[in-house]
């Protein structure tokens, strides 16, 4: 490569880096807007309590049945410290949700690791689509592990790619004379990239158990690509040798003229012999990273053991589906064509461009040499991962992020390939305009799904979600009712000289009552009791003074009213308000009649 070309490449890389940084900044800024607008999902509230437990106790106890890995909680600690939160009651939704927002923006920056594998235009388009994919936007504002998992998966992939790129000089000491000489490559970088890749894999394990699906898809993709590439290339080399009357060393020097970074199966033992040390370092780093976090920095060594035993539980859950058993097309419907009422949502632009990207990656001459096998790896990885998630009966919409990110990378590739194939400038301009309009439409969906229909069933990403007025109306009402209850209790205490300090609120239901504890977090914990067994509540409640408020769910309402009858409390309690907890389930607020009288005086 001439110095002019090198200088030009450096210029392109610089401008690409600036563009990516600007897109990441735009993504960060737009995703920070009104972070507390959407009510907390039950899963988010659950994770919040787990993170608060880490904040107050300093220990993360891995639960193999629930909560997933500790990385989300650990990365929330800086958010707690920076916002001055010492306990859960001090923080709000923004304190927590800023964590996935930062990782979502970081995901765009990671594209710089693979820019040479994808190509500059494909990288730029992938950055734009990552920033404005409605699903990526929505779930990067969700306090769950999904965005972190996608981040670490892509980081592992990127670091692995950089490791392979940085090892070329050492693996190919005799190069064909026309090949560019590697500049600035240092042996230490190989180890750094290998260790970084290992660290990212360790973080994947410490984030969510479904990381194994991405690992499996990557392993399959690597195997397919190596076998495929070697098979075709070796065949081609042999044919050329026969036609040309010369026999050449097949995959080695012949390929090195075109694809200096290719690893062939024939050379695999040699490659492994040469690189066993950095690979071992990567593996050790992966294990150590996961062990450190899962053991809570050595405070709970049961954690790493449970994290391995958990796979049997998750395998069973994934295989049966349970409450979240959904058909194979569940993700495609939400991504590509979701209609509810008068609203239609679709990320078909990403789907269509990803299909073009797959074709470009899989065609023999679809792409220039150095990118070919990386893009084929991406294509096979995305297809396999999509298939795995679609086949598993257990489906929740946020699980699509892992393969959606692969689709976005392929979509970038597809956009670049399309513009390359359309040789006429007019056609290129038209294609670019159509894609730009598609991106504008995606951005409009991002706005509507995040700031208008953020807790509405017409939003394909709203799943088992409370409605907005649970978030805005229930907590202030309950707090005012508790004040009234305190007033009643103090008045009674003055008369009877009894100590004040009782459970004012009983939460009684056999159903999942989350995120109710999040919305009651500012009340003293000793003033709230939770029961998921109505009969147990009936037995225990009579030992307490009567609560002022009983919260239950619509499906448990009849049983609770029957229990109130048996407790002889039925005449004193009436249903005051109801709020949507999730589709088909209302949260019902029962109030004691004397507290109502006191409350009315305050109105």
């Amino acid at each position: 490569m001439s110095s002019q070309q090198e200088s030009s490449n450096r210029g392109i890389r610089r401008w690409l880096a600036i563009a990516i940084a600007l897109i990441a900044a735009a993504a960060l800024t737009t995703r920070l807007v009104e972070l507390d607008k959407r009510p907390m999902h039950g899963d988010e509230a659950n994770q919040a309590f787990k993170a608060a437990e880490l904040l107050t106790s300093g220990v993360y106890v891995y639960d193999r049945d629930d909560h997933h890995g500790p990385s989300l909680s650990y990365f929330t600690l800086p958010a707690f410290w920076l916002s001055g939160c010492r306990r859960l009651a001090d923080c709000d939704e923004s304190t927590l949700r800023i964590v996935p927002v930062v990782f979502g923006a970081g995901l765009i920056l990671l594209l710089l690791l693979v820019a040479d594998g994808l190509g500059p235009l494909a990288t730029l388009v992938a950055a734009v689509l990552s920033a404005f994919s409605p699903a990526m936007f929505f779930y990067s504002r969700y306090y769950i592990q999904e965005t972190l998992l996608v981040f670490f998966t892509f980081a592992a992939m990127g670091c692995g790619w950089r490791f392979l790129q940085s090892g070329a000089a050492e693996r190919w000491p005799t190069q064909a004379p026309n090949l560019p000489s590697p500049s600035g490559r240092k042996p230490g970088r190989r180890y750094a990239w290998a260790i970084a890749a290992g660290g990212c894999v360790g973080m994947m394990h410490a984030t969510k158990e479904t990381w194994v699906l991405a690992a499996l898809a990557a392993a399959v993709a690597l195997g397919v690509v190596i076998s495929w590439q070697l098979g075709l290339a070796a065949l081609w080399q042999n044919l050329r040798a026969c036609l040309g009357g010369q026999r050449q060393n097949t995959a080695l020097t012949g390929l090195s003229q075109q694809r200096p970074d290719f690893v062939g199966a024939e050379d695999l033992p040699g490659w492994l012999r040469h690189n066993w040390l950095p690979l071992a370092a990567a593996l050790l780093t992966a294990c150590a990273t996961a062990a450190v976090l899962l053991s809570s920095f050595g405070q709970n060594w049961r954690g790493p053991v449970d994290s391995l035993l958990a796979y049997s539980d998750y395998l069973h859950r994934g295989g049966t589906g349970g409450l979240h058993r959904n058909p194979w097309y569940f993700y495609f419907e939400r991504l590509l064509a979701f209609r509810s009422g008068a609203i239609f949502c679709s990320e078909a632009l990403i789907g269509a461009l990803a299909a073009v990207g797959c074709v470009a990656a899989l065609l023999p001459r679809g792409l220039p040499g150095p990118q070919r096998w990386f893009c084929r790896f991406l294509a096979v990885y995305t297809i396999v991962l999509t298939g795995l998630y679609s086949l598993l009966p257990y489906k929740t919409p946020w699980c699509m992020l892992s393969f959606l990110h692969g689709m976005i990378l392929l979509a970038g590739l597809g956009a670049a390939a399309l513009l390359q194939w359309l040789r006429k400038p007019v056609l290129q301009a038209i294609a670019a305009l159509v894609m730009l309009l598609g991106v504008v439409q995606l951005a409009d969906q991002c706005y509507r799904l995040n700031f208008v229909f953020f807790a509405d069933p017409r939003n394909p990403h709203v799943y088992a979600h409370p409605v907005s007025h649970l978030h805005t109306d229930m907590p202030p009402l309950v707090e005012r009712l508790v004040e009234a209850a305190v007033g009643c209790t103090e008045a009674a205490a003055k008369q009877n000289r009894k100590a004040v300090g009782i459970a004012y609120i009983h939460v009684v239901t056999t159903e999942n009552y989350w995120p109710v504890p999040w919305y009651l977090r500012r009340l003293p914990p000793e003033s709230i009791g939770y029961w998921q067994d109505i009969q147990a509540w009936q037995r225990e409640a009579s030992a307490y003074p009567q609560p002022a408020i009983i919260l239950t769910t619509s499906s448990a309402q009849q049983a609770v009213e029957a229990a109130l009858d048996r407790l002889c409390w039925a005449q004193r309690f009436f249903p005051l308000a109801s709020y949507g907890l999730r589709p088909g389930e209302m949260l019902v607020v029962y109030l004691r009649d004397d507290v109502w009288q006191k409350f009315r005086e305050s109105l």
């Binding site: 009422g341 008068a342 409605v467 009402l477 009436f574 949507g580 009649d593």
Partner: protein
């Protein structure tokens, strides 16, 4: 002989009354007082003669007090007894029929906004518009400033349910920023931030909710726009309108 004749007449009359009631139930009925139950005209607070406004009712889709809704001090006591007619000055009719409807949710989940003023009060699917969750409003443009004497609202009556934060306002400003008159408000805790209301919640049924918009002297509200708010119900978070009738001229 006379006793037998009397018996036959009595049975025939009962049969006729029962079949008439059955047929009326099938075809829907106008809410006119049963003979002798309510007068056709009364004298208003200002001394004017008020006539019973004819309100055609849909078929009831459930009978009796809904068992799953417990009595509460915030809830109007449900009664199946005939509702007294709405009396108004002569010439008062439903002026909302086929008028333009807008909403805080212009992309309803089910149905069209125009269903709220199309005259179809049946409670089955296809007769109501469903708006999204949370606080939503539906606004009717009466075309010109009108005298609003009263309203009747049917949210949903295929089952007994209670809608929360039902607020009815009237104004000449389409944005409802100025000169807003609140006609009805059962938002007891002011969670909708439109003022705390003293009206009671009520159980929806085929009769709809009849709201008198007049003041104590019997003077109607003068406005061009009527806006109705609600915030979910006891069965789900959505908001529904089968029909809104505005009685005025």
């Amino acid at each position: 002989m006379a006793a037998r004749r009397l018996w036959r007449v009595t049975m025939s009359t009962c049969a006729a009354l029962l079949s008439g009631a059955f047929l009326a139930g099938l075809a829907g009925s106008a809410e006119t007082p049963a003979a002798g139950a309510f007068p056709k005209t009364i004298v208003g607070p200002g001394g004017q003669t008020l006539e019973a406004v004819e309100i055609k009712l849909p078929r009831p889709l459930f009978q009796g007090t809904p068992k799953h809704i417990k009595p509460a001090p915030t809830l109007e006591k449900y009664t199946e007894a005939p509702r007294p007619p709405f009396y108004a000055v002569a010439g008062v009719t439903n002026i909302a029929l086929n008028k333009k409807v807008t909403s805080s949710d212009m992309e309803p989940i089910v149905g069209e906004l125009s269903m709220a003023t199309d005259g179809d009060k049946e409670g089955a699917d296809g007769s109501f518009v469903e708006l999204g969750p949370g606080l939503q409003w539906l606004q009717i443009d009466l075309g010109k400033e009108s005298e609003i004497h009263g309203l009747c609202v049917w949210h949903f009556h295929a089952e007994g349910r209670v809608y929360h934060d039902v607020i009815v306002q009237a104004s000449n400003d389409p944005e409802f920023q100025r000169d807003v008159v609140t006609i009805f408000n059962n938002d007891f805790d002011n969670s909708s931030k439109l003022g705390a209301g003293k009206d009671l919640e009520y159980i929806e049924d085929y009769r709809g909710k009849l709201i008198d918009a007049r003041d104590k002297q019997g003077n109607p509200v003068k406005a061009r726009y009527v806006r109705l708010y609600s915030k979910g119900n006891t069965s789900n978070d959505m908001n529904h309108y089968v029909e809104v009738e505005v009685y005025g001229k």
